[in-house]
Amino acid sequence: MGESKPRPRPPLPYNMRDVVLPGDAACPGCPIPMGWKVLSAVFGEKMILVIPASCSSVVVGAYPGNSLKASVVHVAFASAGAVASGITEALRRRGINDVQVIAWAGDGGTADIGMASLSGAAERNHDFIYIMYDNEAYMNTGIQRSSSTPYGAWTTTTPIIGKTEHKKDVAKIMIAHGVPYVATASVAYPHDFYAKLQRAKRIHGFKFIHLHAPCPVGWRFDPKYTARIARLAVETGLWVLYEYYDGKLRLSGPSRPYLDPSKRKPVEEYLKLQGRFKRLTPEKIEEIKKYVEWNWEWVKRHM
């Protein structure tokens, strides 16, 4: 132990555990509490999470326990956007402006059954943050395909052939809504996610953050690799971190090198760690590579 060297200051505040208490009901390696810790660092107790049916409904724990020291309103599956709209307007009416309303919904509750209420809330531009934590399938019911499941992935409802369609890109749909702020994020980059939440906090109106959240159970990987796999998604260029506001896309720091295709790791490195891609044929891997290129072209056009 060196006696003179001061410990480096952690880049995130030390209050990640203020809100996220030990003893939640998450599986080992679950990305959900990873995301919540960053919320805790930004908002502390002063947030109301609106959670539709999802793994998160379970992760917070069973009555009378609660693993979050913040306010939580559980809601019916299709309704995160609508309930958050109502809470936001009631707080505004009551003159309460130091509490952040956050819709925290999975990909099913966002891209599928919750799409209409998300779209409605976005179009009405209610002043809250909608976070879609994307584990790319219906994990709570046991790994069924969602529209956000990527091409080729095994799920229990695409058990032999794998998914034959590409992922629905909800961030792009939100950009098309013309809301004040849209961003993508990843549980592997908490500083980036933290900065985006800080920016979202300062912007009035509807904010959407699409958080990539690898699920060890559903994606079939060792629970210790959650962050590694999330990072590989960025390093292979499969998941692009950006912010979109004032009519322009701004590539986030971690994704900047990968604008240059030669800097990207081969997608195989991401795919091979996950059991859900075990049966991918070379043709399907080529299709995934094409999708990556196509997505980056879209990114470049909007920068």
Binding site: I48, A62, S71, V72, V73, V75, A76, A82, G120
Partner: protein, 403 residues
């Protein structure tokens, strides 16, 4: 007007449609958030509220949601966060939000919702019956139903008091038939705003989620805890009976109007035969009964103002010991009978070993118009055949082909 206007208590009389009467009541309750989606025949309720808000007559936020499912979800959000919240819908809109009808009831969050009733498709049909309303019976809502526009106003206002009473803390829905009441203008007595403010008081609710303290609502619960929560809802519903009666009495203080609690029984005390009903056509039934009284028939009318909580005591008081009870239903549980009849008989059986002769007449389904003279014939025929010792059908679907 059915209400007994015993003395003037100030206020003014306005010509209002049933829908405008409901909107006026919501305005006078000073609702803070309205989230609604238009559907015929509810539309003019939310149009009028939008007008109040945009004209600055009502300090509230209108959330113009993208569906009824979101309408009640957003209303719930506003209510749980401490706002007095209101919505209205009809028929398919109500069915579309049915998941949220259960959610809000089980959440114990005070909310008021008006149901401007309409038949359920297919076939497409915008005429009124009670099918949409009865479809919500098991969700933990207090459920009242108006007979005329005055009562639509009164019940809506009373609903806020009932819903926000600490003994209840349940959402309340108020039914009124589309078009028959919804779009028909009648004189409606409106009390003074100051009197309403004093009578209603500020928003009350069991718990508020507004970030002032960490609080979670709706967490996963084990079966035993879940059952206890639902038993509490049932207890609150039973408590709501006395609250409804109290509110009706206190409302008399500011309006001079009282209805008699959960039911209204006209000509019942010396009646040997009682006809039972809910909704606007009860007025036609009362007219038929008055004519029959004039002809010497000892007949009365038990009109249901509330079906949740079910007014079991009123049923016992007014129907036990009668010779004949005829229940008119404007809806049917396919494969069974009319809902009001089923519930009336089930509760009556608890209180009397000797049931009256019972008859259920389902009519007016799909919005078929039934006139007072038809009620007169149906009631007279029932009594005459009963007195002649003839066989009365237990269940009849009274139907007229389209002319």
């Amino acid at each position: 007007m059915t209400a007994i206007l015993e003395e003037s208590r100030g206020g003014r009389i306005l010509p209002l449609t049933g829908n405008y009467a409901v909107a006026m009541a919501a305005k006078m309750a000073r609702v803070q958030v309205v989230a609604a989606y238009p559907i015929t025949p509810q539309t003019s309720v939310i149009e009028k509220l939008s007008e109040y808000i945009e004209a600055g007559e009502l300090e509230a936020t209108m959330i113009r949601v993208e569906s009824e499912h979101s309408a009640l979800a957003a209303t719930f959000g506003a209510a749980i966060a401490g706002a007095r919240a209101f919505t209205a819908t009809s028929s398919h809109g109500l069915l579309y939000m049915h998941e949220w009808v259960h959610w809000t009831g089980r959440a114990r969050v005070p909310i008021v919702m008006a149901i401007v009733t309409r038949a359920i498709a297919p076939p497409w049909n915008i005429w009124p019956d009670h099918s949409d309303f009865y479809d919500q019976r098991d969700a933990g809502w207090v459920m009242g139903f108006a007979m005329d526009n005055q009562e639509a106003f009164d019940l809506t206002l009373q609903a806020f008091r009932i819903s926000e009473d600490p003994r209840v803390y349940l959402p309340v829905m108020i039914g009124l038939e589309g078009f028959i009441l919804g779009h028909t203008t009648m004189p409606v007595h409106i009390p003074d705003q100051e009197a309403v403010d004093e009578w209603l008081g500020p928003r009350r609710q069991g718990f508020v989620i507004d970030g002032s303290e960490p609080l979670a609502h709706g967490n996963l619960a084990w079966p035993e805890d879940t059952e206890e929560m639902f038993m509490d809802i049932h207890r609150a519903m039973m408590e709501a009976k006395s609250v409804i009666r109290e509110v009706d009495e206190e409302y008399y203080r500011i309006t001079g109007r009282r209805y008699g609690g959960l039911t209204q029984c006209i000509r019942c005390s010396d009646a040997k035969y009682v006809v039972s009903s809910m909704g606007a056509w009860s007025g036609d039934i009362m007219e038929a009964v008055e004519k029959l009284r004039g002809e010497g028939y000892p007949v009365g009318v038990l009109r249901f103002r509330f079906i949740r909580p079910f007014p079991e005591e009123d049923v016992a008081e007014h129907l036990a010991g009668k010779k004949l009870v005829v229940v008119f239903d404007r809806a049917i549980s396919f494969g069974s009978m009319g809902q009001l009849f089923m519930e009336t008989v089930a509760h009556l059986a608890k209180h009397t070993g000797k049931l009256p002769v019972l008859r259920n007449i389902v009519a007016g389904v799909g919005g078929v118009n039934v006139e007072w003279r038809e009620f007169y014939e149906l009631i007279k025929d029932s009594i005459d055949r009963f007195e002649e010792g003839g066989e009365l059908e237990y269940f009849t679907w009274y139907h007229k082909a389209r002319r």
